[in-house]
């Protein structure tokens, strides 16, 4: 365990009155070497300006024009945004993005939490399990998408054969719109639960066993201990993991694109996939960027709402 891994634990201690107090949490700031500090941070600022700020401003300009990848095109004001909001394809993609994100966040959280709770108890070989269960998060998504393709794509793949043997008939997971959406969501949960497991494990390790001991003396049931102790004590870390996973899901391109390409009949086209297609297949740069901006706007609103929750969730 590195101390970076223990970070959430330290924060919890820092905010609890019984901990070593917030004064010891952070080093005092240094007041000397202003020039050196500026020099140290300068390269990163330069790179961020060139690789993040410039493209962002340029993208904002493009969103106001009807351009292609070659030329900027005529100025059209907010037409691209109005067009997106009136476009059924946009709303369909928004709907799928919502479903994909909600399943991705809560599906992986529930599984990650369950496994983290299970791992907390004494189990032989739990160290090995922990490493093995992290693999879906470590394996490159191109590799796992290839493997999932092998598992589900055609009628001669293992999972459809299994489904047939169980009496479900011929199930084509990636050809049926509803099933394709489900498959992509399950794939996302499979990729993401290890992240949730790690985050939750780190948070759980900071909960002192004495708290449970005290609750047991007071006659609390296991369910009560879970809802009244465990969940509130890991609330901060939970909200953080939700924010991060929401960002990961909304911005996710390869998980969807590599498995289904956004199909069948756009059933798994999320906003990112839609923006990618509009720009790189239909060559409508302005419109594609406008879609991406609308998506980013909603994402930032959601992040801020969840972020406020973090600040509120003080541990007592």
């Amino acid at each position: 365990m590195t101390s970076t891994m223990l970070r959430p634990a330290k924060r919890l201690h820092g905010t609890s009155p019984a901990g070593r107090g917030s004064a010891g949490r952070r080093p005092r700031r240094i007041t000397r070497g202003g020039v050196t500090l500026t020099a140290l941070v300068a390269p990163s600022i330069l790179l961020l300006l060139l690789l993040n700020a410039y493209p962002l401003i340029n993208a904002a300009v493009q969103a106001l024009h009807n351009g292609t990848l070659i030329g900027e095109g005529p100025y059209v004001g907010l037409d691209n945004f109005a067009k997106a909001l009136a476009d059924p394809a946009f709303w369909k993609a928004a709907q799928f993005t919502l479903v994909f994100t909600l399943t991705g966040v809560f599906g992986s959280w529930v599984i990650g939490l369950a496994l983290a709770l299970l791992m907390r108890t004494k189990i032989p070989g739990s160290g090995i399990f922990k490493v093995l269960l992290l693999l879906p998060w470590v394996v490159p998504v191109v590799v796992s998408a290839t493997s999932w393709n092998w598992l589900v794509a055609t009628s001669s793949s293992p999972v459809p054969i299994l489904a047939k043997a169980l009496g479900f008939g011929d199930v084509l997971f990636l050809a049926n719109p509803a099933l394709a959406a489900l498959t992509v969501c399950v794939f996302k949960v499979w990729i993401s639960f290890p992240f949730m497991m790690l985050m939750t494990s780190a948070a759980l390790s900071s909960v002192e066993p004495a708290v449970y001991e005290a609750a047991r003396i007071d006659g609390a049931t296991k369910k009560q201990m879970f809802t009244a102790i465990t969940l509130p004590l890991i609330a901060r870390s939970t909200y953080i993991s939700w924010i991060l996973m929401t960002i990961f899901c909304v911005n996710d391109f390869p998980t969807i694109y590599l498995l289904t390409g956004g199909g069948p009949v756009d059933a798994t086209t999320s906003l990112v996939v839609l923006a990618y297609r509009v720009v790189f297949q239909n060559f409508k740069t302005g419109y594609g960027v406008a879609i991406a901006f609308l998506m980013t706007f909603v994402l930032i609103v959601v992040s801020v709402v969840l972020y406020r929750q973090i600040r509120k969730s003080v541990i007592h």
Binding site: T2, T4, R7, P8, K10, R11, P27, R29, I30, R32, G33, T36, L37, A39, L40, V41, S44, L47, L48, L51, N52, P55, N58, A59, Q62, L69, T121, K122, I123, P124, F129, V131, L132, L134, L135, V138, V139, P140, V141, V143, T146, W150, L151, W190, L198, A202, E213, R216, I247, N251, F253, V272, A275, Y276, F280, G288, V289, A292, M295, I300
Partner: protein, 288 residues
């Protein structure tokens, strides 16, 4: 203190009475659940390795490493591997070299400007790549960097930078400033103390950051597929995807390429899993 020790023995007895008679049995039940879950979860990973042992359809033959020999000698896989390794190595070194000093400033220089910078990093991180990649593509095309490994390396450095700075800052937070103060007493400059005192004691933080950059870079598909056009410039993710589209049912070679792509992250993860921290990212966010 004395009251809690007085109460503890009956409580433990009561708990033991309420729970299963045999704690070892519960332990093995949980072990079985965990083993089954792990086995199901690992099916797609295991399938990659097993299928890679199939021989190529073109040559036939017995189960073994024929597909690996085939993809390494008959296809561009080796070139893709070299491209991926080059891009990743340069990105990791550059990202750590830029993020470590910046992280030091974020950790130590706590004023409003630095706090604003820290928040800016979070916003940058949450922006979708698709927004910034389009202007960058146009810019890089004009600079002749569109279909080039140097081009995507620069973009990867920019893409990993914000989180890398956070991770370094989170680690530096755990190093007491008294160490630097002692160095300053001895006449060391701020830069000198950063280099010789702080950075020297930050190997775990540097490794975590390096692993993070490595994984982002090695696994990236979106940027590579947008920027790289010619076959000999492909990195492994684009190479594998292209190869898969062309040889969809020839699973031996396809999965052999997948295994080649999978091995470096698994090796890194196996050797350095201690430093593999996602908690660092969340933890530093909590401190904002």
């Amino acid at each position: 203190m004395s009251s809690s020790t007085a109460i503890r023995p009956p409580a433990t007895l009561a708990a033991r009475g309420r729970k299963t008679m045999d704690p070892a049995r519960g332990q093995w039940v949980r072990f079985t659940i965990l083993a089954v879950v792990t086995a199901i979860v690992l099916v797609p990973v295991g399938a990659v390795f097993l299928l890679a042992l199939q021989p190529p359809v073109a040559t036939g033959g017995s189960v073994g490493f024929a597909s690996f020999v085939y993809v390494l000698t008959q296809t561009a896989t080796l070139q893709w591997l070299i491209n991926s390794l080059w891009v990743t190595l340069v990105t990791v070194i550059a990202a750590v070299a830029v993020a470590a000093p910046a992280g030091y400033v974020v950790s130590r220089g706590r004023n409003r400007l630095v706090a604003g910078y820290s928040l800016l990093l979070f916003i940058v991180q949450s922006l979708p790549v698709i927004v910034s990649v389009i202007p960058l593509f146009i810019l890089f095309a004009n600079l002749g960097l569109a279909d080039s490994l140097i081009g995507i390396t620069i973009i990867y450095v920019g893409g990993t930078l914000s989180v890398a700075i956070w991770m370094m800052a989170a680690y530096f937070d755990s190093i007491p400033i008294s160490l630097e103060e002692a160095a300053w007493m001895d006449g060391c400059s701020v830069f000198g103390s950063f280099l010789r005192v702080v950075l020297r004691n930050s190997l775990p933080g540097v490794l975590s950051t390096a692993i993070f950059s490595f994984l982002v870079c090695w696994n990236d598909y979106l940027i590579a597929v947008i920027f790289l056009r010619s076959n000999d410039k492909f990195t492994l993710p684009v190479g594998l995807q292209t190869f898969f589209q062309q040889n969809a049912t020839d699973w031996g070679p396809v999965m052999a390429v997948a295994v080649i792509m999978l091995l470096p992250p698994i090796l890194v993860f196996g050797c350095l899993s201690r430093y593999f921290s996602v908690g660092g990212i969340g933890g530093s966010l909590a401190g904002q």
